[in-house]
């Protein structure tokens, strides 16, 4: 399990190791063809800031070589905003006193049809954590309802046991996204004071359980803003390297969501509409991270959601990103059934999928809707 490797590292030492990197370390990292986690430290360090353009050029070339001039498109479909966890940064947090909603199968199909109309073949099913009402049985029903309509079905829900993942895979699940939020054990506790999610190790070992279940793709990431992004993303890279070596038949993708405000009328008084980032990450730094990830790993998919602004997303197309969502709603029923229900966070880019596809085309890239087929998971 990853925990054993993780426990060998001390947050403060890793952070200092990153901050200590020099221009010479960055130049060495840039000149290598295969980069390791020490090189990655240099590339995400403040010392790499003057080398951003060079990193961007390299990232652009490496990404095109592996992935071509294409951007994959996917869309989230929120199943439920019921949640038993308290997460300080999330609109679905248990203590956010707002009407909750879980889609029925009929409502789910209505949403599915709206998404299909937009052209999507890849859907990401999302929910809060409410194991009684939105547990494995519910997910099985949801997967059965959607699987014939999409070429690729991903899920971003609470961590589950290995046998549960095996069941969901039999019902058409291809990919699972599970973000650690932060690899800082103590801060993780502060942000997840209540609910099953407060178990740091159970979450940390979720990709192991997915790998053992033989899942096709796992998405990793941290929520940027909770802690020092450089240290958190280094641990993400460590996690990725461990997983690639252990579960070598599985594909991986990385995300780097930055904290966004959410809605709510009676949110906890000390943090209305979410929390302020503890550590800010500028646009320049996010680009630095995207390029550093690509320079570390030529094969990993890098995904960018509608949390980011139109200008940022337009430029990220050529810098290392391989997948994007568009036209997203972050509330259950958000497309048709109940557009006004509680959303998880506010999106920044509200352009339609057609507009995003056109933006991608204008840059000489192809917007790819289908890059999987259920038949391949025999």
């Amino acid at each position: 399990m990853f925990t054993e490797q993780f426990d060998r590292y001390e947050w403060g030492a890793v952070k200092q190791g990153i901050l200590d990197k020099t221009a010479a370390d960055v130049e060495r990292a840039l000149s290598k063809s295969q980069r390791d986690l020490e090189d990655f430290k240099a590339l995400i360090s403040p010392a790499a800031a003057p080398y951003l353009e060079e990193m961007a050029q390299l990232s652009h070339r490496l990404t095109q070589k592996r992935f071509g001039k294409v951007i994959q498109l996917y869309i989230p479909l929120y199943l439920s905003n019921e949640c038993q966890n308290i997460c300080t940064y999330c609109g679905f947090s248990f203590d956010n006193k707002i009407r909750r909603r879980t889609l029925s199968t009929g409502e789910l199909l209505t949403e599915v049809m709206a998404i299909r109309e937009m052209g999507y073949e890849h859907v990401l099913l999302v929910s809060g954590e409410a194991n009684q009402t939105v547990g494995v049985d519910y997910f099985v029903k949801a997967l059965e309802a959607v699987r014939s309509h999409f070429a690729h079905v991903s899920m971003e829900v609470q961590p589950l046991d290995q046998q549960d993942y095996a069941i969901l895979m039999e019902h058409g699940l291809n990919t699972v996204l599970v973000y650690q939020e932060t690899y800082h054990r103590e801060d993780y506790k502060l942000h997840h004071p209540k609910g099953k999610k407060s178990n740091f190790n159970y979450r940390l070992e979720t990709p192991d359980r997915l790998g053992m279940a033989g899942i096709h793709k796992i998405g990793l990431g941290t929520l940027i803003g909770l802690e020092d992004w450089r240290t958190d993303t280094w641990f993400t890279a460590l996690h990725l390297q461990y997983l690639e070596r252990t579960y070598w038949k599985t594909k991986y993708s990385l995300s780097f969501p930055r904290l966004r405000p959410f809605s709510g009328e009676e949110t906890a008084a000390d943090r209305p509409y979410g929390i302020q980032p503890k550590v800010e990450m500028t646009d320049r730094e996010l680009i630095q991270l995207i390029c550093a990830y690509r320079l570390l790993n030529e094969e990993v998919e890098l995904s960018l959601s509608t949390r980011e602004s139109p200008v940022f997303r337009d430029h990220a197309v050529r810098l290392g990103i391989t997948a994007m969502s568009a036209g997203s709603r972050t509330n259950p029923g958000g497309y048709v059934v109940d557009p006004e229900s509680l959303e998880q966070f506010e999106i920044s880019d509200d352009r339609s999928p057609a507009m995003i596809a056109e933006m991608i085309r204008r840059q000489g890239y192809e917007a790819v809707w289908k890059d999987w087929d259920q038949v391949l998971q025999g």
Binding site: K65, G68, Y365, V375
Partner: protein
């Protein structure tokens, strides 16, 4: 002219359909390449739809489709995908690729051999993507594949003929056509493969991701023709093939 199974090809350059910036550009590049056999990933095709975008742009009478099983991880999945490809695309030709490793996309020899045997029995024309392993090529030949497709270097790496010495062995002993697939990064790599006697090459990334895919497709066309012509003309011996003794071993006979 190259014959594989029931088809004859004027062009020894096979191409792919992935990684292009647009389907229009893909079509123009493939036409410019002169290629008559184009591989298409089943995962990218809208098999249920009558107007799939990729297939629409491949509707030229001289173009034959070679569906591939990219994405499958074992023989069972490959056989399943093959049946779907035959039904959906109306061809029994198949580029059999089983790479359980999504990072380097290196082929699994054990699963590939098992799948090839089963698919040949089911009436498919099988072109397996494999490592440049001469023994595996003979084993595949024995189960009835129509050609073998050993790699020059990992898919999409553009590193050229890293497996040169093993390709030489494969070409020397193969009874079925040898198509060098994967890793060919420049027209000179393609020419080199043809000069050494490969029957054809398959090129995708090097064309699709170049700054001018149409021009690059033409460059590959010329390189493949040139390399083949050189092979047929028989290359002159290089000086390193001949030992020139400075202290003759046979001088004592004089």
């Amino acid at each position: 002219m190259l014959t594989i199974a029931d088809k004859t090809f004027h062009s020894r350059l096979f191409t792919g359909t992935g990684k292009f910036g647009s389907s229009v550009l893909m079509e123009e590049a493939i036409v410019a390449s002169g290629s008559e056999l184009v591989t298409v990933a089943l995962r990218r095709v809208e098999v249920q739809s009558q107007d799939d975008n990729i297939l629409y742009h491949l509707r030229h009478p001289h173009l034959h489709l070679l569906p591939n099983t990219s994405g499958v991880r074992n023989a069972r999945e490959a056989v399943f995908a093959a049946e779907l490809a035959r039904e959906a695309l109306g061809t029994n030709w198949l580029k059999l690729e089983i790479h359980p490793d999504p990072k380097w996309l290196l082929p699994d020899p054990i699963e590939t051999l098992a799948a090839a045997e089963e698919l040949v029995k089911r009436g498919f024309v099988i072109l397996p993507y494999i490592h440049a392993d001469p023994v595996l090529c003979k084993r595949l030949e024995e189960v009835g594949v129509a050609a073998v497709m050993p790699l020059g270097a990992p898919i999409g790496s553009n590193k050229g003929l890293k497996t040169f010495d093993f390709l030489e062995i494969i070409i020397a002993q193969s009874k079925v056509p040898v198509v060098v697939d994967a890793g060919i990064g420049a027209p000179s790599d393609a020419a080199k493969a043809m000069e050494m006697g490969a029957d054809a090459v398959l090129v995708n990334t090097a064309i699709a991701t170049s700054a001018d895919p149409v021009k690059m497709a033409k460059a590959f066309k010329l390189a493949v023709e040139s390399g083949r012509m050189a092979f047929e003309a028989r290359l002159a011996m290089t000086s390193s093939d001949r030992a020139v003794a400075s202290s003759p071993l046979t001088a004592f006979l004089d």
